[in-house]
């Protein structure tokens, strides 16, 4: 659990009066684990030719990316603190033209996976070792382009591509995706299912992937929207809500382990 990162997210949302706290809490453990243990990246040279790519397709989870980029030296504390303010490079969704370390400008759902396929294809053509990790949402998976890309990724044999689904049951509210594991298997992907809040399970899953194989991988990360604070867990009013003073205290107390 990355409660320090969660607390930073809450502070930023309260300061900027903007942000999707539950959506970021469901993915912050995944992103933190990737940057800590998996991704070959260099904060001093974000465009390093040999880097691995991380594409945040569900762009409304941007703050989870920003706090991790800050932790690993891509963006300064001052930049992070400017989140969503006039003149800042950071807003509610990542802008690749401004944010060091961000690989894609996302926000409209259903773009990031197809975009990642282009990056993965490039490195297949170049025969380079770069790996591409793309985080999509289960709600986002209602977009048709996700399934166009699902077919193309298999057809082009993009083993250097690993998609992670933040399976926080957002889709279940209106159009559930029944048994995502079977569905992705039916599309021909290598499918691994994990607890998306477990660093150990994510690392074991990544270890199992053969990035030189001719099949792309999808990790279905079962997560809890709002994970870390009982009050905001699940689906409802907290999706895009700014905490008031009393709620802020409840959030911080739980993240500080006081409850």
């Amino acid at each position: 659990m990355n409660n320090d990162l969660r607390k930073k997210i809450v502070d930023l949302v309260v300061s900027a009066k903007e942000g999707h706290i539950p959506s970021t809490f469901s993915i912050v453990d995944i992103i933190a684990t990737l940057y800590k243990h998996v991704l070959k990246v260099d904060p001093k040279n974000p465009d390093w030719e040999d880097r691995d790519y991380f594409v945040l397709s569900k762009g409304h989870g941007a703050m989870a990316l920003f706090v991790v980029l800050n932790k690993y030296g891509f963006i300064s504390d001052d930049i992070l603190d400017s989140y969503s303010k006039f003149g800042s490079i950071l807003g509610g969704h990542p802008d690749v033209t401004k944010v060091p370390g961000a690989e894609a400008s996302t926000g409209s759902l259903g773009h990031g996976l197809s975009f990642s396929i282009g990056i993965a294809l490039t490195h297949k053509i170049k025969k380079s070792k770069n790996r591409i990790f793309t985080l999509i949402g289960d709600g986002e998976s209602q977009e048709g382009t996700v399934w166009e890309a699902a077919q193309v990724g298999v057809n082009l044999k993009l083993g250097n591509l690993c998609v992670i689904v933040d399976n926080n049951q957002s889709a279940a509210q209106l159009m559930p995706i029944q048994n995502p594991k079977k569905r992705w298997e039916a599309f021909g992907w290598n499918v691994i299912e994990i607890d998306g809040h477990s660093e150990k399970e994510l690392l074991e899953a990544v270890d199992k992937i053969d990035f030189e194989a001719e099949i792309p991988t999808i990790i279905i990360a079962n997560t809890i929207k709002g994970k870390g604070v009982k009050m905001i867990e699940g689906h409802g009013q907290w999706h895009h809500k700014i905490p008031n003073e009393e709620e802020y205290k409840i959030l911080m107390d739980e993240l500080n382990g006081k409850n």
């Binding site: 802008d95 926000g107 773009h111 197809s114 282009g118 490039t122 053509i125 166009e148 193309v152």
Partner: protein, 307 residues
């Protein structure tokens, strides 16, 4: 020499450029693959007939650009511009990525296939993207020269290639520079696409009555060569715009914005007037229906001159 169409020239040009530049990658949306066989054989690792999934192809192309390659996407015009518009806007323009979109199916090239395949709104939509080059090369050498000038210039470049050619060969063609085809004082015709052929016939026809028509040929819709058009219109005070595009958002609107301050200027516009074209038939028949045929345009020219 065997006469080839512009689509074939596209295949030839891409083959030539692709053999010299290893960054060039072709993505097809299941159209034109027979034409592209020579490229596919010469550069097999850089040729992908991806499938019938245009939005994904555009996003993929942006991904190729992101990682350092030069994508060339090819399929039918409205399926790229209309179906994949958000992908063009967000994945290319918002992210400041570059590439080439080469479309077939200009205006009524697929006349018998109906509204789904007709194309007269692309310039209007693409212009809202601001930082995009919009080219309408309508002869084989025009395509060849413009593609070679632009394919690697760090912009998103859009080509609309028509089935019909105007059959005029210009020795010098430069992106963004309109061509003065003829000089005259009585009327300016600003024309884009294969309609140059009609414009020249109208010029020759009116010459019999002693009228001198200045023809400005526009192969680059964006960036538009404003200076040469403005100077000509200021001189003749009468302008007829001919384009195979709808009334809204096409070249005609650009010209109006350019000339509205010229005193006593007279303007006519031969284009697809507002309204969805539900008809079938040949290209020529649909041009007659939309008054883009020689006789209808000539009438507009005569009205302007007689005013």
């Amino acid at each position: 020499m065997e006469k080839i169409n512009i689509r074939k020239q596209f295949a030839n040009t891409v083959l030539e450029v692709g053999q010299q530049d290893e960054k060039l990658v072709v993505l097809l949306g299941d159209i034109g693959h027979f034409n592209m066989i020579p490229f596919a054989e010469a550069c097999p690792k850089r040729f992908y007939n991806v499938g019938i999934c245009e939005p994904t192809i555009i996003s993929m192309a942006a991904g190729l650009s992101k990682a350092g390659l030069i994508p060339v996407v090819h399929t039918i015009n409205p399926f790229i511009v209309e179906r994949s518009f958000e992908q063009l806007k967000l994945d290319f323009i918002y992210q400041k990525l570059s590439g080439n979109i080469v479309t077939v199916g200009s205006l009524f090239d697929y006349s018998k296939l109906g509204c789904t395949h007709h194309c007269y709104g692309d310039f209007a939509l693409l212009k809202t993207l601001f930082d995009v080059e919009i080219l309408f090369p309508s002869s084989v050498n025009e395509f060849d020269l413009l593609f070679k000038q632009t394919y690697n210039n760090n912009k998103l470049t859009f080509f609309r290639i028509p089935e019909e050619s105007h059959d005029v060969t210009f020795a010098n063609i430069e992106v963004g520079k309109a061509i003065k085809v003829s000089e005259g004082d009585d009327l300016t015709i600003v024309v884009t696409g294969p309609q140059l052929k009609n414009a020249i016939q109208i010029k020759d026809y009116l010459a019999k009555d002693g009228k001198k028509i200045e023809i400005i040929y526009v192969h680059t819709i964006r960036p538009l060569d404003k200076e040469v058009i403005f100077d000509s219109c200021s001189k003749t005070k009468r302008v007829l715009v001919i384009e195979e595009h709808g009334e809204n958002g096409g070249l005609g609107e650009d010209i109006l914005k350019l000339i509205y301050k010229i005193n006593d200027i007279k303007f006519e516009h031969a284009c697809v007037k507002n309204g969805f074209i539900h008809s079938y038939g040949t290209y020529k028949e649909l041009l007659e229906l939309t008054e883009l045929d020689f006789e209808s345009i000539l009438l507009k020219a005569k009205e302007l001159i007689c005013e």
